[in-house]
């Protein structure tokens, strides 16, 4: 983040203060955005959840005194807004409230967030890079078979739900694992439980666990981004300025490299920012299918356990993630497009 800022500042010294002020202003706006989003989900959750349902249906029945005490502890006697504010007031200090079963949410939140990031970031970064590459490659070969096939493949990939894709990957890979006799690429979790590997071996173990879920996360995103990137690149290829660049003596390849690429990347920043939330939702499925206990998995089980605090916390983190990505996309835009600096 800071690096990016410095980069911008160096290239436009005069605009540095204005840029910083502008970015700060956006940060404030986005914090508000996150809070509004979280308030919305919290309210929905708090109004529709019945956190004690699970305890009430145990066999033999839970003593009433215990139920009452739990209700008081969860603040179920308070109206939603004060409850939300009570929760929110703890957040800056890292207190995210307690779960329905009495855990401090803060105990788990960072582990969950870490797991999600470890799962989702490599796949997404890879997907953006490959998506862009495939899109550009396709645009440069527009109309040829390779392009047609890759675009058709992208359409088909996008027509298959993420959770089916994960299952299909497992089905396809299972025979390979079986043939190999061991789990070359494991299906569940982020490392072999109970293994006492260390150093490189441990890293290798994690890497093997990462491969299939990363493919599951990346494939639809690659399909998604490549389609847009291809369109953006095609537009640029037909643009007047590219023709002008060639008119001044650049070969087509060089003109595309020096002028086309950058222009074609500009619309992608907004696309990444907008679609990130969608892909994040896809990541929830992937977490479930590949047994990674990340934010999405947490949120889903929180919904099953009717736990509004956890829902609010995981939403908050996801919202922050979306907003941070949006902010990074803005930054990328500023780097790519100097017009946005003034």
């Amino acid at each position: 983040m800071l690096d990016g800022e410095r980069h911008v500042a160096l290239s436009a010294p005069a605009g540095r203060a204005r840029l910083a002020a502008g970015l700060a202003g956006r940060v404030a706006g986005r914090v508000a955005l996150c809070l509004a989003a979280v308030l919305l989900t919290y309210t929905l959750a708090a109004l529709s959840f019945d956190p004690l349902a699970e305890l009430r249906s145990t066999q033999p029945p839970t003593p009433q005194a215990v139920l009452d005490a739990r209700a008081a502890e969860l603040g179920l006697d308070l109206p939603v807004l004060p409850r939300f504010l009570r929760w929110l007031s703890g957040v800056p200090a890292g207190d995210f409230g307690v779960t329905v079963d009495g855990h401090a949410v803060a105990d788990e939140v960072w582990e969950r967030a870490g797991t999600s990031l470890r799962l989702f970031l490599p796949g997404s970064v890879l997907a953006v890079l490959l998506g862009v590459a495939v899109g550009i490659w396709g645009a440069l070969r527009a109309g040829r078979w390779a392009d047609k096939i890759s675009m058709a493949a992208a359409l088909v990939l996008l027509a298959v739900p993420v959770f089916v894709l994960g299952t299909l990957l497992k089905i396809l890979w299972l025979p390979v694992n079986e043939a190999a006799g061991t789990d070359l690429l494991p299906f569940s979790g982020e490392k072999t439980p109970g293994s006492d590997l260390a150093g490189w071996a441990a890293a290798g173990d994690r890497l093997r666990h990462l491969v299939l879920p990363t493919v599951a996360i990346a494939l639809p995103q690659i399909a998604f981004y490549s389609r847009y990137q291809r369109a953006a690149m095609l537009e640029v290829l037909h643009s007047e300025f590219l023709r002008a660049a060639r008119a001044r003596g650049l070969t087509r390849a060089r003109a595309v490299r020096r002028h086309g690429l950058r222009m074609a990347l500009i619309p992608m920043t907004a696309l990444v920012a907008f679609s990130f939330g969608l892909h994040l939702a896809g990541g929830v499925f992937t977490e479930r299918i590949f047994g990674w206990h990340g934010l999405g998995d947490w949120m889903m089980s929180a919904i099953e356990h009717q736990d509004a605090m956890v829902v609010a916390t995981s939403t908050l983190l996801m919202a922050v993630l979306v907003v941070v990505v949006g902010w990074l996309a803005d930054l990328a835009l500023v780097l790519l497009d100097p017009r946005t600096r003034s």
Partner: protein, 277 residues
């Protein structure tokens, strides 16, 4: 600017449009007329032939309780199509109204509406739907349609708003304002017709995403509730059988992918058509 006198190309020439619409029509026919020609209903159990592989009697095999998989898929397709279409139409209507009103009126209205859009865009929509759906579980599936539409309209609304904003200063809108036309007239006579191709395209693409959204919700058990079935519930119920009784899984996956693909191909084709004009 189109050359003067060039007749507007009618959509339908692009292979995507032809392919997509034919496939969609075929699927719809199969979904609504198909069951009439089947000897089984989707609920009919035959405990003597559970999980039997495809055979002439059951072209797609039978499911866990001996139900005919084809009958199940057609019934699921029916529900998925209906949900997809309704949700898409609703999405489009909401986004058209919000987008044009915000874009045309601007000012405070615009700011408030766009703030709402921004807030909703921060959240992965399917998760928000998941939060509320347990409470609405035994409501009718129409609630599901509302939910899907309720969290899917934002992106289109933004696009529509951007269009409306650029149209707001366009010659014919200004001309209409100058002749004293009311805002309602400007919106209905000038903005919305202008937006219609965009909205049609979007509606088609929304069918695809609504069908996928329903499937996703069903995967977590938040979608269509038993005893009713949708492609989503069939796929998610069949996931466990993918290796053991593959037809239970692959058949609904095939129908689902075909539906989404058809809608997407049609939508993209229409979009290209629109872009070409």
């Amino acid at each position: 600017m189109t050359a003067a006198g060039t007749p507007r190309r009618r959509p339908g020439r692009r292979p995507g449009v032809v392919l997509g619409s034919c496939l969609l029509v075929a699927l719809a026919l199969a979904a609504f007329a198909g069951p009439l020609f089947l000897p089984y209903t989707h609920t009919q159990q035959d405990l003597a032939t559970v999980l039997s592989a495809p055979s002439p009697a059951h072209p797609l095999g039978t499911a866990r309780l001996g139900e005919d998989v084809l009958a199940l898929c057609l019934r699921g397709l029916q529900k998925s199509l209906v949900i997809g279409l309704l949700a898409a139409v609703l999405t489009t209507v909401v986004s058209a109204v919000v987008g044009t009103v915000a874009g045309y009126l601007g000012g405070m209205v615009d700011r408030v509406l766009m703030a709402v859009v921004d807030v909703l865009l921060v959240l992965p929509p399917i998760l928000v739907v998941a939060v509320v759906s347990p409470a609405l579980r035994d409501q009718s599936w129409l609630v599901l349609v509302l939910l899907i539409a309720g969290f899917q309209w934002m992106l289109t609304a933004r696009v529509v708003r951007a269009r409306a904003r650029s149209l707001r200063s366009s010659g014919y809108v200004v001309a209409a304002e100058n002749m004293g036309a009311s805002s309602a007239r400007v919106v209905t006579r000038h903005l919305l017709p202008q937006m219609a191709p965009l909205l049609v395209v979007d509606c088609t693409l929304n069918v695809a995403s609504a069908v996928l959204a329903e499937a996703g919700l069903s995967y977590f058990g938040f979608g269509v509730q038993a005893p009713d079935v949708s492609l989503g519930t069939l796929v998610s119920a069949g996931t466990g059988s993918a290796l053991t009784f593959p037809w239970v899984f692959l058949a609904p996956v095939g129908f689902l992918a075909a539906t989404v693909l058809a809608a997407a191909v049609l939508g993209e084709g229409l979009r290209d058509d629109e872009g070409a004009r």
